[in-house]
């Protein structure tokens, strides 16, 4: 049934360069105007949108943090009342975890992974567009509710019974639970796209041992998302059912159990930490090479450490529940597994140190953030080993010690590498360099401000200051340190402001970037900055882990792809041998309609269970429009 191959003139063989790029640009373009913007499926445009949106949420979450620091700067402050404070710390945590940290890592991957594996678009590009709209809708839902004084106030982990029907009156807990559904749908969609892109769209020759470490990290992370997020979807759905239709999952009076919530939440919530950390670790392993001017030490060790962390991540969740009164043997097991995960983390740290030790270091902003990351993350890791011990954890549970610990691992372990990554890949994203002087200033302000803000929280915690209190009395010994922390936060905020100013300014008037300004070895630097809509005029072929270092004069490429059809190469899973010239879907507005229909259904279902029945009809219609063949060249086979 196979039709003959298309006329030779549509393939890129023996065609003049200008005609080739013109034809590809026409086939892969995103038309200008609002309709083009809404219908695009270009992973770079969607990735950029994702990143910008995630940073907007970072800014908003930062404002909430600033409000909390003003409130806590002195005892008995009156800026925020207890109810508003409950909403603010819940919003801060939920926003930072679900709307910033996870999406921003996936966003960077949405942009970079297709470029790094040398393909022309992400797998399932329409799903990618859909996932962004759903993410945006979930974030808008949460923040609109907050603006209407309906923001969730039950903590970012929404423990029952506080969030259950008995204590959580109104719609606040439902807003939290449904925001989860939105962000999980979008995260799961991106995870599927990344797994398939990495499995099947790697460029010919990119065998498993030639995959950049960041791409490996995203593969492991995507599997973590796939295996962990169903737990939180199940949890939030059963919470909504308890609240809406009177089920009894978490009601002990009718055979339910409140600890069931904690198990389900943390079975997701602990891997969540690695869903945020592993991409960051992968970024560091990839970025360290151009700044140490040598390949990363211990590629195999780095990749194995990522995989080991991914597996161990599922055996740790109970360490969040040490004071919940579980059997002793269980506690011991989870102490052991929590300490064991320090081993793969340690392997990575030593590989990075070895790389730096043997390298000729180029002290640009990304490297500063990498070094800042190693220092901060090691401190956070050490307090992690401390709280893995049950007696110690019992002492500091729910105190500021824990707040200090997780900010060290999350900001130190993930935000520092992310900022390094933004400085590093900014030229690829925008075609312009970030200002180096401003970058170094923002690094020092953030590094000093961060440590001065969060290190004293360890001490506050040891002094017994509990988390989530909206104020404290003047006779308690916490005043001085709290004031110091709040003042230090000003330095931290100044650093972030400087970073944002630098990004805004440089995106418009920064120095124009070359294709490969850092002389880096991976494929995303083999194309222009920013890349054209089709990523590569011809698909690169790789023969090593560092293709741009091993042959500095020329780039090995493949020809034979059509220029009038969105075509990319599908290769075998392990050896990356070409299998097919597969089509990649064209732009479509249907993902937006599907996202709007899904949004209506999800919001409506906070109020009536029938929403799921009637609301799914427009969703189904939109999906049909999405998948129905349109007779474009992409349908050919």
């Amino acid at each position: 049934m196979n039709r003959p191959v298309a006329a030779p003139d549509t393939r890129d063989i023996e065609i003049e360069r200008k005609r080739l790029t013109d034809a590809l640009a026409e086939t892969w373009k995103t038309p200008s105007g609002i309709w083009g913007a809404l219908a695009t499926v270009d992973h770079k445009i969607i990735g950029r949108r994702y990143i910008v949106t995630a940073f907007v949420f970072l800014g908003l979450g930062g404002v909430l943090a600033a409000l909390m620091r003003i409130q806590l700067a002195q005892p008995e402050a009156r800026l925020l009342g207890p109810d508003r404070y409950n909403q603010i710390f819940t919003m801060h945590g939920a926003n930072m975890m679900f709307l910033f940290a996870v999406p921003v890592m996936e966003a960077v991957a949405v942009y970079l992974v297709p470029l790094m594996v040398g393909t022309r678009n992400i797998a399932f590009p329409r799903l990618n567009a859909f996932s962004y709209w759903i993410y945006l809708a979930g974030g808008t839902l949460l923040w609109t509710a907050f603006a209407l004084d309906m923001g969730p106030d039950v903590g970012w982990f929404a423990y029952v019974p506080l969030s259950g029907p008995q204590y959580g009156a109104g719609k606040r807990a439902d807003i939290w639970a449904q925001m989860i559904t939105f962000t999980e749908i979008s995260a799961l969609a991106v995870a599927v796209e990344l797994v398939v892109t990495i499995f099947k769209q790697r460029t010919p020759g990119m065998t498993l041992d030639r995959i950049p470490v960041f791409v490996w990290a995203m593969l492991v992370t995507s599997f973590l998302v796939i295996m962990a997020m169903p737990a939180i979807v199940l949890a939030s759905t059963s919470l909504i059912l308890d609240r809406l239709v009177g089920t009894h999952f978490f009601n002990p009076a009718e055979g339910g159990d409140v600890l069931l919530w904690q198990h389900l939440f943390w079975f997701f919530g602990h891997p969540e930490v690695y869903i945020i950390f592993l991409p960051a670790a992968g970024m560091v392993s990839t970025m360290i090479e151009p700044f140490a001017r040598r390949p990363a030490f211990g590629y195999l060790g780095l990749v194995m450490a990522l995989i080991a962390t991914g597996i161990l991540a599922f055996g740790l969740w109970v360490h969040h529940m040490f004071v919940a009164g579980l059997p002793r043997l269980g506690d011991s097991f989870f102490t052991a597994s929590s300490m064991a995960i320090a081993i793969p983390a340690g392997i990575q740290v030593f590989c990075w140190l070895a790389t730096l030790w043997d390298g000729r270091l180029v002290f640009k902003t990304p490297l500063l953030f990498i070094i800042g990351f190693i220092v901060t993350f090691v401190i956070g890791g050490l307090t992690g080993v401390m709280v893995a011990s049950v007696p110690f954890d019992t002492q500091v549970h729910d105190t500021y010690f824990v707040v200090a610990h997780f900010h060290y691992v999350l900001i130190g372990g993930a935000v520092f590498p992310l900022l390094a990554a933004i400085h590093y890949w900014f030229p690829k994203l925008t075609g312009r360099m970030l200002n180096e002087a401003l970058g170094q200033w923002s690094f020092w302000l953030i590094f000093v401000g961060f440590n001065a803000t969060f290190f004293p929280m360890h001490i506050l915690g040891l002094e017994g200051m509990p988390r989530r209190v909206y104020t404290y009395q003047p006779d308690l010994p916490w005043h001085g340190l709290n004031l110091f922390i709040s003042l230090s936060a000003v330095i931290l905020i100044a650093g972030f402001l400087l970073f944002f100013i630098n990004a805004f300014r440089s995106a418009r008037v920064g120095e124009v970037a070359r294709d490969n300004p850092w002389d880096a070895p991976t494929l995303e630097w083999a194309t222009t900055s920013p890349p054209p809509s089709y990523n590569f005029p011809m698909i690169p072929v790789v023969g090593s882990l560092h293709p741009l270092w091993d042959d500095r004069d020329s780039l090995a490429v493949a020809n034979g792809l059509r220029t009038d059809r969105r075509e990319l190469v599908v290769t075998t899973l392990a050896a990356a041998e070409p299998q097919a010239r597969e089509a990649s879907p064209r732009n479509s507005i249907w993902p937006l309609w599907a996202a709007i229909a899904t949004t209506i259904m999800l919001i409506w279902s906070m109020f009536s269970p029938w929403a799921v029945v009637w609301g799914s009809v427009p969703v189904a219609v939109a999906l049909m429009g999405w998948f129905w063949p349109k007779g474009t060249p992409e349908d050919e086979s």
Binding site: L188, L555, A558, D635
Partner: protein, 200 residues
């Protein structure tokens, strides 16, 4: 940078079947997501069962008849399902059209029996945690039958249009077959859970 052509991809097919198809892998990934969801829902059942002093809580075990009937229908549906897959592999449009019509009806049959299955649980979702979890398990699986049925209906309609002869569609049919196998396979542990664990 100078480009050096080392490989010609022009002879490759325009579409890959099976493991060469990205949608095949995507379907697999979605099955992994949903499979994890089912496994966790069963874990919740076992957790609550482990906690309860008597199980089922304040209810008799569910009636076996409708659930067993659904199980038999689902198992029997595997025969036409596998045949459809074979016909799709042979790109036999006439037989695939017939098979898709049969599979559409086969998809409706368990839904009809399931209407009787919910009352046969003999407990309401809001009676107690046992009721909540069995209704959720059954509801979760029913959603999967409905989703695959809608997919089968749309695909069956598509096979009768001008797009039907496209080999790409046969790949879609195979993915749909794989997903239905998954819907049947996930039912078996849920069936065991709802009907037989409650009788231990």
């Amino acid at each position: 940078m100078r480009e050096k052509i080392v490989l010609d991809l022009g002879k490759l097919p325009l579409y890959g079947m099976g493991t060469a198809s990205v949608t095949w892998w995507g379907t697999l990934a979605f099955m992994l997501i949903e499979g994890t969801g089912f496994a966790l829902a069963i874990a919740v059942y076992l957790y609550l069962m482990n906690l309860a002093t008597a199980w089922p809580i304040n209810a008799p075990p569910p009636d076996l008849l409708p659930g067993t009937l659904v199980t038999l229908v689902l198992l029997a549906s595997l025969v036409p399902n596998v045949l459809v897959s074979r016909w799709a592999e042979q790109q036999n449009l006439r037989m695939v059209r017939l098979g898709m019509v049969i599979m559409s009806m086969v998809g409706i049959a368990p839904l009809i029996v399931r209407i009787f299955e919910f009352p046969a649980l003999k407990v309401s979702w809001d009676s107690n945690a046992y009721g909540s979890v069995v209704w959720t398990l059954l509801g979760l699986h029913t959603t999967h039958i409905i989703t695959d049925l809608v997919d089968t209906l749309v695909l069956a309609a598509l096979m009768f249009t001008r797009h039907g002869g496209n080999p790409r569609r046969f790949g879609d049919v195979q993915d749909n077959v794989m997903y239905w196998n998954f819907v049947v396979a996930t039912w078996l542990p849920i069936y065991g859970c709802i009907y037989w664990l409650a009788r231990l």
